[in-house]
Symmetry: C2
Subunit: 416 residues, 2 copies
Amino acid sequence: MNRKLFRNASIFTPVDRGTPLSGKDQGKVVCLPKGAVYCRCGVIEDIGEERELLSRLSPSQVDVEIDCGGRCVIPGFVDSHTHMCFAKRREEEFNLRLDGVEYLEILRRGGGILSSVRAVRASSEDELHTVTKQLALSALRLGTTTVEIKSGYGLDVESELKMLRVIRRIGRETPLDVVATFLGAHAVPEEFSTTPDDYVNLVIQEMIPAVSAQGIARFCDVFCEKGIFTVDQSRRILETARTAGLAPKIHADEVHDLGGSALAAELKAVSAEHLLRASDANIRAMARAGVVGVLLPATAYSLKKAYAPGRRMIESGLPVAIATDCNPGTSYTESMPFVFGLSVLQMHLSVSEALVASTINAAHAIGMSEYAGSLDVGKKADLLLLDGDSPAILAYHAGVSPVVQVYKQAEPVHET
Amino acid sequence: MNRKLFRNASIFTPVDRGTPLSGKDQGKVVCLPKGAVYCRCGVIEDIGEERELLSRLSPSQVDVEIDCGGRCVIPGFVDSHTHMCFAKRREEEFNLRLDGVEYLEILRRGGGILSSVRAVRASSEDELHTVTKQLALSALRLGTTTVEIKSGYGLDVESELKMLRVIRRIGRETPLDVVATFLGAHAVPEEFSTTPDDYVNLVIQEMIPAVSAQGIARFCDVFCEKGIFTVDQSRRILETARTAGLAPKIHADEVHDLGGSALAAELKAVSAEHLLRASDANIRAMARAGVVGVLLPATAYSLKKAYAPGRRMIESGLPVAIATDCNPGTSYTESMPFVFGLSVLQMHLSVSEALVASTINAAHAIGMSEYAGSLDVGKKADLLLLDGDSPAILAYHAGVSPVVQVYKQAEPVHET
């Protein structure tokens, strides 16, 4: 049962060249109109035109054959930026925002990130796990096979570790591959509101060492923004984290051009996120430094903001990834098909660029390109069967997921 | 089994006053935080606060009790403008459009509406039925319980009648309530390209009488647009249709301010659709004439166009409905939750205005307010259970349907 042949598939996949794809390469996707994928124990052993692939196989080497009916097959989505570990939705706050209440006023009334912090602190690990798992499994059904999840609603040593344990459990108890990012510097918690530097010291002196000692996160991220963490504070945190074995990521230049993307280039961060206000010079600097720009169009959609200049970034040579930013405040969506559609229709990426952005470049942005992001031999057989002829169906079928089956390591996720 | 009590529901519903809701009334929705609905044979017999409603019932009057778990319950969506009867998707054309190919060039290459016409003409009734039913059932699972479907991809007497027979079968063979609209004047078919007036005569002299004689459509619609049908041609068609018992609807002022909305006001049409270019004077004229403005935000989304000025229309007193425009060219979506989200986040309707627009005003726009559009006593028990506290979840949970169960005449649609 562990040797599977997917045949009669219209395969679209990027080819992994070992580094994120940028510029014209971001739009290059291989198409096998009548393709096949052969897997053993959930790993891709061969891929190619069906006729050629079959000539390399004897029938006795196939335990299960899956006829894809000529439909489009793409790699599983890699959602490279989420905050999907939280205790409570913030539907009420969404209503306030629609009524025109300003974010600072929402904060004053106890809303915003800090309300998520209160809810996470008050939740047991099991409660937090239940909410997170439900969302993660929904993401999986929508085609996400690899996901990054950040902490950052704990903001004290024990609550941050609690979040990271929950994130680890999601990786163990669901088919998803989960990458954990420590985001202690997501906001300054209420108890440090008048002494933010003391909180930065807590992150540096206690949180990072504890997270590192437990080996419970792979990346460290910082919300570098006016009124949140300065460029200098961000640099101190990320340099400490790197020394402790946590590779740096940065929420940069989302609301103001504060210099977060310059810092990302300086530190050669794995990725820089949001980037709505990043200057052209800093975009080019990040491109030279090998940073992946992770764009979050559903956040712009939900906040009714302008979209990040994805096209300009690609033209400037910055490899672009797209992600949901799934969180209870500014982007409550776990749907990569929706984000794919937004990136094409609102950020003007081509369909091929969006496919690269949601698979291989995203895999590079979270250090998972060895396993995920393309249908290359040796990678996990994470693949999506779409109700369509090409990946364009992800934008064309607006607001409806065309993912009819998800195969995680060749095993079907949807009931069959 | 035919007497059902829905209890522990957070009910949000417009109240039907017999006419479409406009101005400030468009934003008025009743909320019963701990409400209940009592139905017999799929019809609402009582609705109110649970405690009060229970005091009016004896336990022996309830066969089945459904605990809604405190979740939000709203009326089923009424999708008041669709072209979901078609034979083939136009995914390839979507790709061309993304590549910047102009619509006229797409037409020249055999795309656009006329390619759907060729496909419908070449399809058997059963083939057309299979495609349409699949889409209609998907719409039902996404919360649409009443739907309008237009002909208009046949453009000859027999093919238009074939479409209308398929639309009737959808109404008979699915739980959906289906309203058929004859749209022979959707485009000028290729064989009349040099003699468009002859086609108008065919619509007037042969199609309308045939449709009317068979009693197979309730409305007649016209695509009144520069290069399609003029205001004078539209008037002739709609006046003939009205005399034959088909109430008028108009695709008006979508691309140019041609005068379609003025004609809608003049004819006191049931509805006018699209309206992206309608002037303020014509918006007020339609409001005075009792026309419902049917806005189609997913079309603007898919075409990357500006949205219709929904807020301004509401402030001008025009009752507004929202619909999917589901069609294979310019808006391939059957999701009312998606359209709801767009209307709130992109057209700036309030959540309550969007709820009215997608239920009671939409029901009035297709003559179905006796049966649908609100949870009033005597109407069908078409109700949606949402995974959320309020209808805001439809916009807040971006790109994901929060409809966890659809009850059509009190019967569950999703597997339980």
